[in-house]
């Protein structure tokens, strides 16, 4: 009798992924109950970075389009959320949806232009967008100028009890939004769209011959990435209670790109690494400089220095990201 022995490679199924997400949600819940206000705020920031970095990874890592201007897309989302709340007094989750839709719409327009560009041309365009877009808030009074406009996520429901703090509430909102967004992103990346993006990225001629419409595929990637960035912007507005041009400097766009590289730009799984690094490094740097010297100067420059150095090290040692590095080492 013939016996077929299948060499079984453990397959990660949707069930495993769901359990993974549930575990993350559980640990966020537990964490939010132990940590103090400041840590909750940091947790919320990490969740925001997760969404923003996932947006860059989708665009750059999978679709192969460079963006140095995601800060501008975050700004669109934040303003859209705040304006929805001010003019329609909509509940907060409607504001989030509005932010996603409006930013995705802008992303589609931008993507239609960007699909014709590549390499340095796209890098330059997105960079100019990052520098130019937030500053137009000063021109139109509806956008509130330099002071900006407020965005109020409201107090936590009373049923959660008196001790439930504002930041813990933000931590919950942002984490829930991030989890939903990540669930959706990892699904879309494994869908036919995700496969089409990777095909176009690795060889556009072959992809076109296989019947993929390159232009449409790139515009779709830009649209979805912008939608995610818009969500991140709305979440950022939630934690800051305010939307103003100074919230979205060029440095924000650079940090998001940095986070994407630290996470490994080609793998979604590393997204938490980059997000935690962006939040943790300034804190670590401050404590290090406090320990070693009382110099204020060192304390202000050390975080930048460490992030930059880590960035260069990552590009040199693990250009595909830490996760791929570990994976390839195991494969050997």
């Amino acid at each position: 009798m013939l016996k077929v022995v299948a060499v079984h490679k453990p397959q990660i199924t949707n069930k495993h992924r769901f359990v993974g997400f549930a575990l993350i949600a559980l640990s966020v819940y537990i964490l939010s109950n132990i940590v103090d206000e400041w840590r909750s705020f940091q947790g919320a920031t990490i969740a925001i970075y997760v969404v923003a970095i996932a947006s860059v990874i989708l665009l750059t890592g999978y679709s192969g389009q460079i963006s140095l201007g995601h800060g501008a897309l975050l700004a669109i989302g934040a303003y859209a959320a705040a304006l929805t709340q001010i003019y329609f007094s909509a509940p907060i989750w409607i504001c989030f949806i509005a932010a996603v839709l409006v930013t995705a719409f802008f992303g589609a327009i931008l993507g239609a232009a960007a699909a014709r560009l590549s390499g340095p041309y796209l890098a330059g365009t997105t960079l100019a967008l990052a520098v130019g877009l937030p500053s137009i808030a000063n021109q139109f009074s509806i956008l509130g100028g330099e002071q900006g406009i407020s965005f109020d996520a409201g107090w936590p429901p009373l049923s959660f009890g008196e001790a439930f703090t504002q930041y813990k509430w933000f931590f919950w909102i942002t984490s829930l939004a991030a989890l939903i967004a990540m669930w959706w992103v990892q699904n879309i990346l494994r869908s036919r769209y995700g496969r089409a993006w990777r095909a176009v990225k690795s060889n556009d001629v072959a992809a076109e011959l296989a019947g993929i419409n390159i232009g449409r595929s790139k515009v779709l990637a830009f649209t979805l990435s912008a939608g995610l960035a818009g969500l991140a912007g709305a979440l950022l507005a939630t934690t800051l209670n305010n939307v103003s041009p100074s919230v979205f400097p060029l440095a924000l766009s650079f940090s998001i790109a940095t986070g994407a590289v630290l996470s490994g730009v080609n793998t979604l799984g590393g997204v938490i690494i980059g997000s935690v690094a962006l939040v943790a490094i300034p804190e670590i740097a401050t404590s290090v400089s406090d320990r070693w010297s009382g110099s204020d100067n060192l304390a202000t420059l050390l975080p930048d220095f460490i992030v930059s150095a880590l960035l260069i090290l990552t590009v040199f040692l693990a250009p595909k990201g830490p996760i791929e590095k570990i994976r390839s080492r195991h494969a050997k």
Binding site: G132, S135, V265
Partner: protein, 302 residues
């Protein structure tokens, strides 16, 4: 009319300074296919060198060449010790330009942090060597001052020198050959690696000049977290892209276009739309010509 001429003069001065930065970025792109964001940091570092030389000697005419040499040195060092190993590792895949961009961004951060560490709150001062008071024409002061003439003169001289280097010398020929067809140039006996370092060095010198001129034309002082230098880097890069990123002439044309249009918007529309206008100009140019004003699709220009 009077105001318009003044606006044009301001725009041309700003544009000519951007053009040096744009040339710095174009030279690096042509020699190594890297968008060099560290150019802003290198210009900043060289301007600090210029400022301290100016402080010691008191002469702008010593400070400028010293800063240019320093810029060339910094830039060559970066190419040799940083970029060469990086490109070796990533295997020179022309598709992947994201990682080198991020690496040069990291380098920019490190340069700024180091400058911050050395200089702290101190600023380097580069006061205008000539009067920045405008000439008086029929009772009114125009935007053309001895300083502006000097800036335009320096930029013009550098352009002529660069053109001569590229068109008339062996070095220029090798630079063009090495960027056009590295493999064939190597076979023809050109030391491509050395030539690339030379390209970076020239780029560093151009960037240093841009930094010094931007400072004297602007606030007169450099600080590690200088907004002027961020502007210089962003507008220089945008101008280079407008010009088609491959071409030196394109860089100059793009920079003057950008400088003049931004000056007009600053005067007649308002300061808050200047940055957005830069984006609109860029995207309009790229929609009409996806490879810039002077760029050519598909092929490299020698």
């Amino acid at each position: 009319m009077f105001q318009f001429v003044n606006t044009l003069l301001i725009g041309i001065t700003a544009g000519s300074i951007y053009s040096l930065m744009a040339i710095s970025i174009v030279l690096v792109w042509r020699s190594t296919r890297v968008v060099n964001f560290a150019a802003g940091g290198l210009a900043l570092a060289s301007s600090f060198v210029g400022a301290s030389v100016l402080e010691k000697t008191g002469s702008f005419w010593i400070a400028l060449p010293v800063a240019m040499v320093a810029g060339a040195l910094f830039s060559a060092v970066v190419e040799f010790f940083f970029l060469r190993p990086l490109l070796k590792r990533s295997g020179e895949k022309s598709q992947e330009i994201f990682l080198p961009i991020i690496a040069t961004l990291g380098l920019l951060g490190i340069i700024k942090a180091v400058l911050n560490f050395i200089y702290g709150d101190r600023i380097g001062s580069l006061p205008p060597p000539l009067s920045d008071k405008g000439f008086i024409v029929s009772g009114e002061s125009i935007a053309l001052s001895p300083l502006r003439i000097l800036i335009l003169g320096i930029v013009l001289v550098l352009m002529i020198v660069l053109t001569l280097i590229f068109q008339r010398t062996n070095l220029g020929l090798s630079l063009r050959a090495a960027s056009f067809a590295p493999e064939i140039s190597r076979l023809a006996g050109i030391r491509v690696d050395l030539i690339r370092t030379a390209g970076w060095a020239i780029s560093g010198a151009a960037g240093a000049t841009a930094g010094i001129l931007q400072t004297t034309n602007g606030s007169g002082s450099v600080a590690p977290e200088s907004f002027e230098f961020s502007l210089l880097l962003v507008f220089g890069f945008v101008a280079a892209v407008i010009g088609g990123i491959e071409s030196l002439v394109g860089a100059v044309v793009g920079s003057l276009t950008l400088g003049i249009i931004l000056a007009i918007i600053l005067t007649y529309v308002g300061s808050s739309l200047v940055f957005f206008a830069a984006f609109i100009i860029l995207i309009l140019v790229l929609l009409l010509r996806p490879h810039g004003i002077i760029g050519v699709k598909g092929s490299r220009r020698a």
